[in-house]
Symmetry: C2
Subunit: 158 residues, 2 copies
Amino acid sequence: MIIHHHEAMQYAVRLSYEKMLDGAGGPFGAIVVLDNKIIGVGWNQVTSSNDPTAHAEIVAIREACQHTFSFHLKSAILYTSCEPCPMCLAAAFWARIDKIYYANTRQDAAEIGFDDKLFYEEISKPLHLHQVSMEQVGREEAIKVFEAWMKKTDKIDY
Amino acid sequence: MIIHHHEAMQYAVRLSYEKMLDGAGGPFGAIVVLDNKIIGVGWNQVTSSNDPTAHAEIVAIREACQHTFSFHLKSAILYTSCEPCPMCLAAAFWARIDKIYYANTRQDAAEIGFDDKLFYEEISKPLHLHQVSMEQVGREEAIKVFEAWMKKTDKIDY
């Protein structure tokens, strides 16, 4: 489906509204666009699919990658009805998305009860200050696997 | 399957090694444990499934949630063979995971060519300093959807 820049965010916002009314999850919608074509569509499905990772952007990125048969989305644009949370922003980074347009902000999300802003603050802290306890164990064995990766001759980088 | 704390990381590391050898993706494994039972298992499948979000922790969390029929994993423990990247750490936050054990660090991952450390640095920056361009458009319409969410009487918080 062809879509122009000025319509793309409207589409993402419409998704956020309609799917929220349907009871899919929180009020968030997103699309991935490449060369003026929609290649991925997503809306929040956390509560309806029992999947805490089913945010609009993650769903749209996963669909776009299935469409392009690739784990990278170079030159693609993400339109999302709200600033991505750290999970979704890092997913866009891993997918090598080229540009992100967002409408509502993390502050807006905080004001309606979502934890995006809190998680940004948590993630920027040193590990020992996190509210979720993190502890290192077993590096001695695990580092050997990283050494094996370095020696692997047929590995695919991502 | 019953698993004790001292075996759990060994299992995650073994997964990271065996699935890497199989060509599934990068050298990362993870499990979710609740009451000494494994309820989710994951390994990196980015390149084999064309899914940039298919990190070990995301896969394990998604499986655990399907197992428990819930979008939250309160009291659950995540064992991961490497410190979670920002995407996976935020996923653990959204899932309300209680505790995270990790083996290799983000620095170890950087040394074998992965961008976890870089993405932590990016995410902690103000938006206008990100390498991936981010631009706000269309808040005027999008904020109305947030207002509608606030008024929704049958919403499910997460």
